[in-house]
């Protein structure tokens, strides 16, 4: 959230659908977040370099399963502190997210309000860290 005298929170969105990337980016920017997007997972180092306050990760990515990405990030010291919220269109979203070690999930199609609430929730937690 855009607050005075503070750098905006940085959010990274990884999803293979450019429509989602665009819409989520625009929605988060409306609330003053700094949104970065990627259609593919470029590796742990790349994520560590961006150093997002929150990562939105789609379950299904081209060539890679979002759950494996989450596990990889959560298993690496450089990235394990980054909160991960997974987008999923599957019915058992919560189970999938938990299995992968993600912090939360958003079932598609989700409401704008919910996206904002979720973002605020995880970025404020990271602020406390």
């Amino acid at each position: 959230m855009k607050t005075p005298n503070m750098a905006p929170k940085k959010i990274l969105i990884i999803d293979d659908n450019e429509g989602i990337l665009f819409a989520v980016k625009k929605a988060l920017e409306l609330k003053g977040y700094e949104a970065h997007t990627s259609e593919t997972f470029m590796g742990v180092i790349a994520v560590a370099n961006v150093a997002p306050d929150l990562l939105y990760l789609d379950v299904s990515l081209v060539g890679k399963d979002g759950r494996e990405v989450a596990q990889e990030l959560k298993g690496n010291d450089k990235t394990k502190h980054i909160p991960i919220v997974m987008f999923t269109a599957y019915p058992n979203a919560s189970e999938l997210a938990k299995e992968a070690g993600a912090d939360g999930f958003l079932s598609k199609p989700f409401e704008l309000e919910l996206l904002w609430k979720m973002t605020e929730k995880y970025t404020s937690t990271s602020e406390k860290d």
């Binding site: 429509g19 665009f22 819409a23 625009k26 929605a27 409306l30 269109a89 599957y90 199609p109 704008l112």
Partner: protein, 665 residues
């Protein structure tokens, strides 16, 4: 004679005794005379003395003289007597002599008789011996007699038996004659020259010719094939017997009767063949039955042959008796290599699985059947094959043989398609969700940005797009649910909630969907249920949106809430087009839709009720519809506008104890 002798002797003795007595008497009298003389002397003396007494004495004397005279007289008599007795004695002596002589003679005679007696005794002994001999002969004779009596009895019995036999022979003859006559099969005897010698009534009936006309004519005259008939009885003469010889008898009126002849020769005692006895069996009906059976068989074979599913008929030992075309075609095998094989030996023993063995081996003993036995055969390196088997017991009525009908279907491809279909549904709905999410978010962003402006047209457009996206979202979610239900992966998250509160909430939000309809809540359940709140909401929403959709000319929807001992009950009543009774069950099927009177379908995929039913089922409840197309929903309700449908569902409510526990928590 002896007796006579005895009586003579006695008489003699008596005479002697008499004689002795008389002598004694004489002596006595002499003595007495002496005494009397003395007495006289005394009395003389006395007379002198008794002069006086003389008168007395004289008297006395007189008296005594008298006495004396008396006595003298008596003495004379006694002497006479004595003389007589002497004479008698002499006579007796003479008689005795005669008697002695007689006795002597008699003794001699006696001796003679004794001698004769000895001879007689000897004779007697001889006769006794003879008698014994005769007795022995008699015993033998008796035995002989007894034997002869027995023989006689036997002869009598034999005679009687003969009589009985002769009678029974007569009866048997009559009996066999009546049998022959009673037989419905035409019977005939034929002479060596092929002439009919005897017939029964049935022969008369089958030929239409009287007995008199038949006898003496050629046997072969009465058949459609006389030559074959002649060959037939010639064969009998040659072989002695012929069976099931097929001929056709022609009736005088042209009627034909198919028969099978059994015939044999008959002979006299000497074994000389006299003729042929032939019995015909009418097989017309049998032939009809045979034809029918052949037709049935061909019908059955036709069915089996055209069946697309492979089919096997197994015997009791589970060996292949036959298979249909589909079997040979499907498994690319030939009848030669299949028939007679054990079912487990087929397909290189790939079918030899415990599952199939168990199912097949209990069909006959338990008289059971199995349907849709699904077996997956894994072929390493090739993949797997899924087969469905149906097996049932079959009795071949003719022989009573127990058989097994084994039908099979390879559903491997079907399974693959089904899985592909299910995963397609899942994929499709998943893939649809992403663009829907994008559109939805962007519309919401736009709505936020333009709400502040006065551009009402744009706001209106965005609102419409928003509504359509909501609908699209719902459809996508429903489709995904259908695929989940189909895949049996439809799981709910159950929590306890207040049912009336949910109903109120849903009705309020649904009211926003239609300005035309007023949704009225009637009654309360006052109950909590344990269930998936979102899913139960979807049931409500589905039913209310349907009510709105299918009652375009009505303006009221009634949601009634009630409860009974076990369940909460919901009724959602519309006053729309109604549902015909034959469709009332079908509407809960997947992709089913009720059209309106002009045949036009209402929009939608026809999955709302299908999902609702699945949700209610997951809650162990029940959902149904009460409706009559074009008829008022309540009897006596003449207002056509009140026709329509009432959808009802009930779900088990919390028991009071559970409700209390929930409130406390």
């Amino acid at each position: 004679m002896i007796k006579i002798i005895q009586s003579d002797e006695e008489e003699l003795t008596l005479a002697r005794k008499e004689l002795a007595y008389q002598k004694d008497e004489r002596e006595k009298r002499a003595a007495e005379l002496v005494v009397a003389n003395v007495e006289l002397a005394f009395q003389q003396a006395e007379k002198e003395k008794r002069i006086e007494e003389l008168s007395v004495a004289n008297v006395e004397l007189l008296f005594q003289n008298n006495e004396k005279e008396k006595r003298a007289a008596e003495l004379v008599i006694a002497n006479e007597e004595l003389a007589f007795q002497n004479k008698e004695k002499e006579k007796r002596a003479e008689e005795l002599t005669v008697a002695n002589e007689k006795l002597l003679f008699q003794n001699k005679e006696k001796e003679k008789r004794a001698a004769e007696l000895v001879i007689a005794n000897e004779e007697l002994a001889f006769q006794n011996k003879e008698k014994e001999k005769r007795a022995a002969e008699l015993v033998i004779a008796d035995i002989e007699l007894a034997f002869q009596i027995k023989q006689k009895e036997k002869r009598e019995i034999a005679n009687k038996e003969l009589e009985v036999f002769s009678n029974s022979l007569k009866l048997a003859s009559q009996y066999s004659r009546s049998l022959i006559e009673a037989s419905t099969d035409p019977l005939v005897t034929i002479s060596l020259t092929g002439k009919i010698t005897d017939v029964n009534e049935a022969s008369v009936n089958v030929t239409g010719e009287p007995r008199e006309k038949l006898i003496g004519t050629d046997f072969s005259d009465y058949f459609t094939e006389p030559k074959k008939a002649r060959e037939g009885y010639k064969q009998v003469f040659k072989k002695g017997v012929v069976s099931d010889y097929s001929l056709t008898i022609r009736h005088k009126n042209g009627t034909l009767t198919d028969v099978l002849y059994n015939a044999s020769v008959y002979k006299d005692d000497a074994g000389k063949v006299l003729g042929v006895f032939a019995a015909a069996r009418d097989v017309t009906e049998q032939k009809i039955l045979q034809k029918e059976r052949a037709q049935t068989l061909s019908y059955a074979e036709g069915i089996l042959g055209t069946m697309r599913e492979p089919l096997l008929i197994l015997d009791k030992q589970l060996r292949v008796k036959s298979a249909n075309e589909a079997f040979y075609r499907t498994f690319s095998v030939k009848a030669k290599s299949t028939e007679g094989c054990l079912v487990y030996e087929l397909k290189n023993r790939r079918w030899d699985t415990p599952q199939l063995r168990e199912a097949l081996e209990k069909i006959l003993p338990q008289k059971s059947a199995f349907n849709d036995l699904e077996i997956t055969f894994d072929f390493p390196g090739i993949g797997s094959n899924v087969m469905l088997f149906n097996g049932r017991r079959l009795i071949q009525s003719e022989k009573g043989e127990e058989l097994i009908l084994l039908a099979m279907q390879d559903i491997t491809e079907q399974r693959v398609l089904q899985q592909r279909n299910d995963s397609f549904m899942s994929m499709a709905s998943h893939e649809l969700k992403t663009p829907v999410t994008t559109i939805k978010m962007l519309v919401q962003i736009l709505q936020m940005q333009y709400e502040k402006t006065k551009d009402t047209t744009l706001v209106e457009y965005l609102a419409t797009i928003g509504k359509q996206i909501e609908q699209l979202t719902k459809l996508v979610t429903d489709l995904l649910d259908v695929s989940k239900i189909k895949a049996d992966k439809f799981k709910l998250e159950k929590k306890t909630f207040d049912f009336d509160a949910l109903a109120k909430e849903i009705v309020q939000s649904c009211q926003l969907l239609s300005q035309q309809h007023t949704i009225i809540i009637q009654g309360k359940t006052k109950a909590h249920i344990k269930g998936d709140r979102d899913s139960v909401s979807r049931v409500f929403i589905n039913l209310i949106t349907n009510a709105i959709k299918y009652s375009p000319s009505a303006n009221t929807i009634i949601v009634s809430l009630s409860q009974d001992e076990k369940d909460v009950c919901v009724g959602i009543k519309d006053f729309g087009i109604g549902i015909a009774s034959d469709l009332q069950e079908k509407i809960f099927e997947r992709f089913f839709q009720v059209g309106n009177d002009d045949g036009r379908s209402f929009a939608g995929l026809g999955i709302g009720l299908y999902i609702s039913a699945a949700i209610v089922a997951q809650h162990h409840g029940r959902i149904w519809v009460e409706s009559s197309k074009g008829m008022p929903t309540r009897p006596g309700d003449a207002d056509r506008s009140r026709q329509g449908s009432t959808f009802l569902f009930q779900i088990p409510k919390l028991k009071p104890k559970e409700k209390k526990a929930h409130e406390n928590s």
